[in-house]
């Protein structure tokens, strides 16, 4: 009498089932293959996690800084995806993401007291990106990296705006949320001028449909 045994219910024939041996071996082969394919798909999903890389190559004119500054929206505005595994105009998987960006800024000359603020922000579905008034003395004053400045790029490299999102892990504790715009991470660059390149990156819990942006002011 053939029995199904074990966790995977593998068929096991008795010593009187000689005629069933081919069928038995075929069943085992197919069950093993099915299990291996499932493992392969799981491994492939781990290796090819959702990721998006967006780039904008043309110049982008930034408003003149003043009290309150002005905001521009780099990521998500007229950008081209250079690589996009999951059509990530919005982040379509809830979980723990690594979000980063590089911005190459150009201005006329360093000006004492002229501050740039770059930030990574996330907007939930239904909340349109809008002006957000960062300025010195504003919300980033306490976290600005005053000891960091940015190398003047004298090599004439191409303009570079790159944003990268990499899904890292599911967050089982994350649930639907009606939060407003969230600030990922911000930098205040004092006495900014000439050409500057800066980078922002952080890990953050993302909810379905969230849109990350790089903003500058």
């Amino acid at each position: 009498m053939t029995e199904l045994i074990g966790t995977h219910q593998v068929p096991c024939i008795s010593d009187t089932d000689y005629a069933a041996w081919p069928l038995l071996m075929q069943c085992i082969a197919n069950q093993v293959e099915e299990s291996l394919i499932a493992n392969r798909d799981a491994a492939s999903a781990a290796l090819h996690r959702p990721v998006a890389v967006w780039q904008r190559s043309e110049n982008f004119l930034q408003g003149v800084a003043g009290s309150g500054g002005t905001s521009i929206f780099l990521y998500g505005y007229n950008w081209s995806p250079t690589y996009n595994l999951n059509t990530l105009a919005t982040l379509n998987r809830q979980g723990w993401w690594l979000v980063g960006g590089i911005v190459h800024c150009t201005s006329s000359a360093p000006v004492a007291g002229n501050n740039r603020i770059l930030s990574l922000n996330v907007y939930p579905p239904g909340l349109a990106p809008a002006y957000y008034g960062f300025d010195v003395g504003g919300p980033f004053a306490a976290v600005s990296l005053q000891d960091v400045t940015w190398e003047t790029n004298t090599t004439g490299g191409e303009d570079l705006f790159i944003a990268t999102n990499v899904y890292c892990a599911a967050d089982p504790n994350a649930g639907p949320d009606d939060k407003g715009m969230q600030i990922f991470y911000g930098l205040s660059v004092e006495n900014s001028g000439a050409e500057t390149v800066t980078f922002l990156s952080t890990f953050w819990t993302i909810f379905l449909g969230d849109t990350p942006l790089i903003q500058a002011s």
Binding site: M25, A29, V32, L36, V51, E151, T152, T164
Partner: protein, 187 residues
């Protein structure tokens, strides 16, 4: 006539086939091959391409003030995707597997009189991709700069680490330097 599974080719007898020891041997061997293939697929996901090259001040690189200078390396700390080949090119990693990488660097300089800044620059295919400038933390000891960034890279892309310092004195020398590329997500 034996049959086999479509993906991993596990061979089994069909009705009418004589069941002998050779059939069992083939069955076992093809099962083993399938497991070996599956193990390779799992390792590809868990042991992603990583490489790090390194050198110390025992092998310094001369660097004059305000000049981007390429770092050379002496040691492959680890490399599981043939990205480093220091015997041929001792200044770079060459990407073998396309994807988004986490690229990290560290560089230190010494030998100056006063140090105003230290910069670490990563080049992709000979073009500056990212430059990070660190203000000097001291005027009498080593200065250093470090960063970690994601980069979208393709097979054949090269990564080169350069350094720059400003201040007085010198020429200085590049001491400890390290360049790491770790695959986050494969294309």
């Amino acid at each position: 006539m034996p049959g086999s599974t479509p993906v991993y080719g596990i061979t089994y007898p069909c009705g009418g086939d004589t069941i002998d020891t050779g059939v069992f041997q083939t069955f076992s061997e093809t099962l083993d091959n399938a497991f070996v293939t599956a193990q390779g697929e799992l390792e590809a996901a868990t042991q992603r391409p990583n490489a790090q090259i390194y050198a110390t001040g025992l092998n310094p690189v001369a660097i004059v003030v305000a000049t981007d200078t390429t770092c050379t390396f002496t040691t492959e700390v680890f490399d599981n995707d043939n990205m480093a080949n220091l015997a041929v090119n001792n200044d770079r990693l060459t990407i073998q597997t396309g994807g988004v990488y986490w690229v990290s660097s560290f560089v230190s300089v010494s030998g100056f009189t006063t140090l105003t800044s230290v910069s670490a620059i990563v080049q992709r295919n000979g073009i500056d991709f990212y430059r990070y400038k660190s203000r000097a933390l001291s005027i009498s000891a080593d200065g250093f700069a470090a960063f970690s960034i994601p980069m979208d890279l393709f097979p054949g892309d090269t990564l080169i680490l350069r350094a720059r310092w400003t201040g007085t004195g010198g020429p200085g020398s590049i001491g400890i330097r390290r360049l790491t590329a770790s695959l986050l997500v494969a294309h």
